[in-house]
Subunit: 231 residues, 2 copies
DNA sequence: CAGTGGTCTAGACCACGGT
DNA sequence: CCGTGGTCTAGACCACTGG
């Protein structure tokens, strides 16, 4: 009895053939039926392998036309945007979050000008500092749309960060993320204990519920991002 | 005859229950068998939906223990690191790539100091500028390990960017990516026509073949990254 | 139209790991 | 131990789309 072939094995063997240029970039793969015959397994098993490869951006699939190796294989990676708390815990650092300020009023000009929100909304603004072993790691500025999340006003964000509270209050809501390199404003630099105009990664999150913005978060980060993936 | 239920439908209905807090964060889901009974479909269909949700970081699954809603749902996103060429084409801009310089020799000090490569390797260094409609968009500095990719020396990277050539030459090799915010060096700023010390996103790619570094790319970017995903 | 991928089914066996 | 998820099978029907 030969060892049974699994979808991971099929994926591996296909990858080998692509890497060895037996199946060059842009070339057509055999159909699922013929691959199943070759590997002596069910078509569903081949299908699972091919679906995986397509998700990874390595092959393109079309009905009738069949599967082919991407001529420009996408470099698709999975990125996990972790909470600062999670990152600190994974590194074994003591996590702490402090609320620095809290105000209520109209959205700031830039937010309206960038078209992120309508000017007539009332926003709860919280500035919070995240520390790892006492050292500043990230400054978060959170604007919560008080018209949509009125009960946010009842909360004190001294121990729980606004982003964590929002996540628990609105499980699984969508976010649009933008990553920018910015020069630090002097007040931010002071808080993070860095030089004025030091370069920093700034992540802007628009938190959406059915096309309505429930909150906007600006996270100014001291560290960097690391990703691993296919090239 | 009722409409047949597909795995996407099951995923949607599960998401609804999580969003409505019928199944709170951290709570256990019914087993695949009971869900299949409830939805009147095969277990494989439920399984496919649950595997999807697990990949999205929304639920955690363990044998015997069953599935439960992640207590801290991960914010997993897919990010596609596109070639500058691809990005320009998608935006309808004229893409162009110029080789600025090309030298050969030992790896630079920082590369050795950061432990990215052994000092005794010979590297081919190419500096190339990527333009969209004539405007500088990205500066790439590529070091190719000439010991591992000797035939790179035969190539002229005046029209084809080193990263594209490498990708075609080594299909599907792995890369480790790091994203940093940096202040531009004055020479770089001059080339990109920006202010000295302007903040920029710098992507560093270590290109690997079986634990050996075949190339290192530093891409200094003018633009930003945008991602969409679950919060 | 005909071949391809997309999906579902009903059943099966197995590995893992709480209890 | 034994229930759970992980996977495979053989077969089926359908939707899409290229020729």
């Amino acid at each position: 009895m030969v060892a049974k072939i699994g979808y991971q094995d099929i994926r591996t063997r296909i990858l080998e053939r692509i890497r060895s240029k037996e199946w060059p970039l842009g070339s057509a793969l055999p159909s699922e039926v013929s691959l199943a015959a070759e590997f002596k397994c069910a078509r569903a098993t081949v299908n699972r392998a091919l679906v995986l490869l397509a998700e990874e951006g390595i092959i393109d699939r079309k009905r009738k036309a069949g599967s082919r190796v991407s001529d420009y294989p996408k470099k698709v990676s999975r990125i996990e945007l972790k909470l600062v708390r999670t990152e600190m815990e994974e590194r074994g650092l003591q996590y702490e979050c402090k609320q620095l300020s809290r105000t209520f009023g109209a959205p700031p000009d830039w937010m309206v000008n960038e078209g992120r929100i309508e000017p007539n909304q009332q926003m709860l603004f919280i500035e919070s500092l995240h520390l790892g072993d006492g050292k500043p790691v990230q400054l978060q500025r959170t604007w919560i749309n008080a018209s949509l999340i009125p009960h946010a006003a009842d909360h004190n964000f001294d121990s729980i960060a606004p982003c964590e509270w929002l996540r628990a209050d609105n499980p699984l809501c969508r976010g649009n993320y933008e990553l920018h390199a910015v020069a630090m404003e002097s007040e931010v630099a002071k808080i993070l204990k860095l030089d004025e105009k030091a370069p920093a990664l700034q992540l802007t999150i628009d938190l959406m519920r059915d096309d309505e913005v429930i909150a906007i978060i600006k996270a100014i980060n001291v560290s960097c991002y690391e990703i691993a993936g296919a090239f």
